[in-house]
């Protein structure tokens, strides 16, 4: 066994060395990072930077790209993470459940995390609803929200957090991102004639974007919590 492992290591090293050569060579041919005339800053990117704020409807250009120019990509992204939860829950649901208890933490840690919870939630919603002006957005805020749920699950044990909603409601919460995005796509079709189109009227466009961000954020946070529950073998949700 030891000899086999050594041979495997030597083979792996040879493979990686063969991989390293072309990678390093190729990377050195690229324009130096940070140079303004690199191809990454021409064409599409230049167009986004130049006109993205007006035509995209978000001062944060990344949000504009995500929710407007590349909305179809983002829709796929939301579906991917929802499907990941479905698959994880399906796999975890078939196994024997241990329903193990949380490891007891010190009362100080327990108290501090309980006290921090609401502030983390407020911060998450701040990040979500300001995603079009400030760094942040639906996914980022959703991750903060999910992190809060996971943190609480670590301290209180997953059961009370998972029990906050019934399994059915959790499933709907996790589907929020997909459903809100699909609804917006249809609204865009009605208002502008294009699927995923956002109306050009600034106020309406901005509120639609915030609704989208909220859907992605709530759905993303619930999905992250669901993934944690699936991994930790929590019975409900």
């Amino acid at each position: 066994m030891n000899a086999r492992r050594r041979t495997a290591r030597i083979l792996a090293f040879a493979l990686l060395a063969a991989l390293a050569g072309p990678l390093i060579h190729g990377v050195l041919q690229l324009p130096a990072p940070g140079s303004a005339d690199a191809p990454a800053h021409a064409n599409v990117s230049a167009n986004y930077v130049e006109r993205g704020a007006e035509s995209g409807g978000a001062e944060n250009l990344v949000t504009g790209v995500l929710l407007n120019f590349r909305a179809l990509d983002t829709f796929g992204e939301v579906i991917v993470i929802f499907t990941a939860w479905l698959a994880a829950a399906a796999v975890a649901g078939t196994g024997s459940r241990s329903g193990r208890r949380a490891i007891p933490v010190s009362p100080v840690v327990d108290y501090v995390i309980r006290a921090l919870g609401p502030f983390i939630a407020v911060f998450a919603f701040f990040v979500i609803v300001n995603g079009h002006v400030l760094p942040g957005g639906g996914f980022q805020g959703g991750v903060v929200l999910g992190a809060m749920l996971i943190l609480l699950s670590l301290v209180l044990g997953p059961a009370p957090v998972a029990g906050a909603f019934s399994a059915r409601h959790w499933a709907w919460l996790r589907a929020t991102g997909v459903l809100v995005f699909a609804a917006t796509a249809v609204i865009g079709l009605v208002l502008t004639g294009h699927l995923f189109g956002l109306p050009s009227e600034p106020g309406l466009r901005k509120s639609l974007m915030i609704v989208l961000e909220l859907g992605i954020g709530v759905g993303g946070g619930a999905v992250l919590a669901g993934l944690f529950f699936a991994i930790s073998g929590t019975d409900r949700a």
């Binding site: 495997a8 986004y48 990344v62 499907t83 990941a84």
Partner: protein, 135 residues
Amino acid sequence: MNVLATALGHVDYLVAVALFLIGAWILVTSGNLVKKVIGLNVMETSVFAFIVTTGMIDGGAPPLVVEGMEGPYASPLPHALVLTGIVVAVSITSLALVLILRVKSQFGTIELDEIVPTDEVRGAEDSDAIGGNDD
């Protein structure tokens, strides 16, 4: 000397390549499934770092078109692409971890070396070898 100067100018990219190779090394050589997932994550992170670095401009501002933020702006496109990549990476990681938990409950181990031998006795359905012993 010239090569050295180029290498120094591209050190950001070279770090990404080094991380990629380290991740690939862990993925290929480690027999522990959780370590394999960690290796995969290191590889993914190196790719994200690489893509985000291509969008960087020396002295550039974040792509926020607001008061007090003057151009040149960093390219927003790589950021949006990497955001998609991160979501996919999280999905892969969580699904892999759940599958590893199944492997653990089925075989009682997450070491590949220890899983393979039990595969040989798969024919004997209710044999003790499948049940695992430390669970």
